[in-house]
């Protein structure tokens, strides 16, 4: 894959280039500041972009803003946003224009090289990768709502992994079960939550699950 990286910390930037190159990807450009990001994306049209949220000059959320702008300007471009901390509100902004080819992960996750590369490839293929911490937060605030309480612990895990954007095969691998077992759990989750049976793609599933979690709040307040 041809990849553009935006990261202001030189050590991390070099590390990331090394990690990606070793694993057979090509880093076509690196940016160290917010204003460089969009021009680099326009020029290189990479297969994926990896953006840090905090970048010079203001060290606020220019990486995130660049990502949101890039999504409306270059809708086909897969973007992975990395950050030292995750905010659910930021995830919502990134997902506002759909869940296709978007990722939002803690920087920590880079350390798990295989999973990180898998997430990057998933995004490049039009999939979604949401950080488990964001998903856990979203799920936990609805955890007391009735339909969620009726899920088995396994189904709960499956729900979180669906929300993270994992495909059935990946879920099966992480839970060390067969794909058929995963499908069964997913059917269970969809039945209990009253969602229409899934037929769409994995990134649509992410949105369906997140929409459900978001909509569950006013109807069944936490007690």
């Amino acid at each position: 894959m041809r990849i553009v990286i935006a990261e202001d910390n030189a050590l991390l930037r070099e590390g990331m280039v090394l990690l990606l190159t070793i694993n057979g990807h090509e880093v076509v450009a690196t940016c160290a500041a917010g204003p460089e990001v969009l021009p680099a994306l326009r020029t290189h049209r990479p297969d994926a972009a990896v953006l840090d949220v905090r970048l010079p000059p203001t060290f606020r959320d220019e990486g995130l803003r660049a990502a949101v702008q890039a999504r409306s300007e270059l809708p086909e471009l897969p973007i992975l946003v990395l950050s030292q901390y995750v905010e659910q509100a930021y995830a919502a902004e990134l997902l506002a224009q759909g869940a296709r080819g978007i990722g939002y992960l803690l920087k920590d996750r880079v350390g798990r090289v295989e999973q990180f590369l898998e997430a990057l490839e998933r995004i490049a293929d039009g999939g979604t990768a949401l950080d488990p911490e964001v998903v856990t937060e979203i799920v936990s605030r609805k955890a007391a709502a009735r339909p969620l309480r009726s899920l088995t612990p396994r189904e709960h895990e499956v729900l979180e992994m669906m929300a993270q954007g994992l495909a059935n095969a990946a879920i099966a691998e992480r839970l060390v079960v067969t794909e058929r077992a995963v499908s069964k759990h997913i059917r269970g989750v969809f039945d209990k939550l009253g969602l229409p049976p899934e037929g769409g793609s994995v990134h649509r599933r992410v949105l369906a699950v997140l929409a459900y979690l978001d909509a569950a709040a006013p109807a069944s307040p936490a007690r």
Binding site: V53, R54, F59, R60, D61, Q84, Y85, E87, Q88, A89, A92, L106, D108, G111, R112, E137, R141, K142, A144, A217, P218, P221, A222, R223
Partner: protein, 403 residues
């Protein structure tokens, strides 16, 4: 007729104000003698302990008049005394040195004279007023109205000539008392300095407690984890040739350790200054808080949305107050909805967090709210909590924000 009836009622209120002052005037007359007697006591050391008691009597009398005059004038008369605490000798010294004592002493004769004098004056005013204003407003007003009915042109209302001076008497008496009993500018300044020293001491204390907490969190948490990590990597190096599987296991442990340390570091950073506050300002950060709340949170953020950013310390204090309130609501209130409102008036940022929960929250119960109170007080702000059993609970924080 209506004009005259109103006039009579107002004059009667004013007169009542004067007449109810009469018992106070006699007490003040007595007290005027007590002050020199008390001073003589102080001179002959033996009777000195009576002095603070005399001063307390003065304060009671002055306090009563403050309320009375304040009600009449519609603006409260501020009270400011040194508390008479401590050993008997201290109490005597404080009672002697408090400028409030001499303020009260000076006021005593003025009150006696003004109330009695004005009461005497009010008697002929009543007589003359009833005759003159009665004829002018009562009879004349009735004639005016009859004429108006014929001509169709409404008559101008007739004003009082004499009775209104009863109001003037009462107001003058109240104003004299208010002026004499109001603490001087320098006394108020002294009080403000004392208050600032208090809140500054609180701020310094809160700040150093905060630094100690951060130090502990970093030292015992993150740093210890990094040491353990270095150890595991060292072990992995040792084992890598002889037992690659064991080395791999050490590296796995090391990676888990790094992730734990990072998570903890993130937590510490959040408690120092939440990154989202830096990124998005107060409105954005509060929106993020509301987004992660389990119950719907209604928000009024327009006051902090537009215009320039508030000072960072004010933003942080307001943010932590809202965060703490929402946490308490989630933990204790059994509320189904909450609301967060910001208003800004005259350089004051007011934050109000309410819920429809069970109420009965204890202001001093949790350490969280105490931390907020200190943080707010350090910025010269105030924190108030009302939470009757059965609800609703309301937390109010006011912070000076300089614009």
């Amino acid at each position: 007729m209506q004009d005259f009836a109103d006039r009579l009622e107002r004059s009667w209120n004013a007169a009542q104000y004067l007449y109810f002052g009469l018992p106070l005037a006699w007490l003040c007359l007595l007290a005027s003698f007590l002050v020199p007697i008390g001073l003589v006591f102080v001179l002959f050391v033996i009777g000195a302990p009576a002095w603070p008691e005399i001063v307390l009597v003065l304060r009671r009398l002055a306090g009563y008049e403050r309320t009375r005059a304040g009600t009449r004038l519609g603006t409260p008369v501020p009270e400011l005394y040194l508390p008479l605490d401590g050993a008997p000798a201290d109490r005597i010294r404080l009672a002697l040195t408090d400028p409030g004592t001499w303020r009260d002493a000076r006021w005593l004769p003025v009150l006696t004279c003004s109330v009695i004098g004005f009461t005497v004056l009010s008697v002929p005013l009543w007589g003359a007023g009833l005759v003159v204003d009665g004829a002018r407003m009562g009879l004349g007003g009735a004639l005016d109205r009859r004429r108006a009915e014929h001509s169709g042109v409404p008559a101008a209302p007739r004003t009082s000539l004499v009775l209104r001076h009863l109001d003037t008497l009462a107001d003058t008496q109240a104003r004299w008392s208010a002026r004499l009993l109001r603490p001087s500018a320098s006394a108020r300044l002294a009080e403000r300095v004392a208050e600032l020293s208090d809140t500054r001491a609180g701020a310094v204390e809160a700040h150093s407690a905060e630094l100690r907490r951060i130090e502990r969190d970093l030292h015992d948490g993150v740093q210890a984890q990094l040491v353990a990590l270095s150890m595991r990597i060292g072990l992995a190096r040792q084992q890598v040739r002889a037992d690659p599987d064991a080395a791999l296991a050490r590296l796995d442990e090391a990676q888990e350790g790094v992730e734990g340390a990072l998570a903890e570091l993130r937590q510490v950073v959040r408690t120092v200054h939440p990154p989202v506050l830096t990124d998005r300002g107060l409105a954005g950060a509060v929106r993020a808080l509301a987004a992660s709340s389990a119950i719907p949170v209604e928000m009024g953020l327009s006051a902090v949305e537009s215009g320039h950013r508030l000072p960072a310390s004010v933003e942080a204090a307001a943010y932590f107050a809202v965060a703490e309130a929402l946490t308490n609501i989630r933990k204790h209130s059994r509320a189904t909805r909450a609301s967060v409102r910001f208003t800004r008036t005259n350089g004051l940022l007011r934050v109000t967090v309410t819920d429809d929960g069970a109420g009965g929250a204890d202001e001093y119960g949790g350490s969280g709210l105490l931390g907020i109170r200190r943080r707010v007080a350090a910025l010269d702000g105030t924190t108030g909590l009302t939470s009757p059993p059965g609800g609703p609970t309301e937390l109010r924080v006011e912070l000076p924000c300089g614009s």
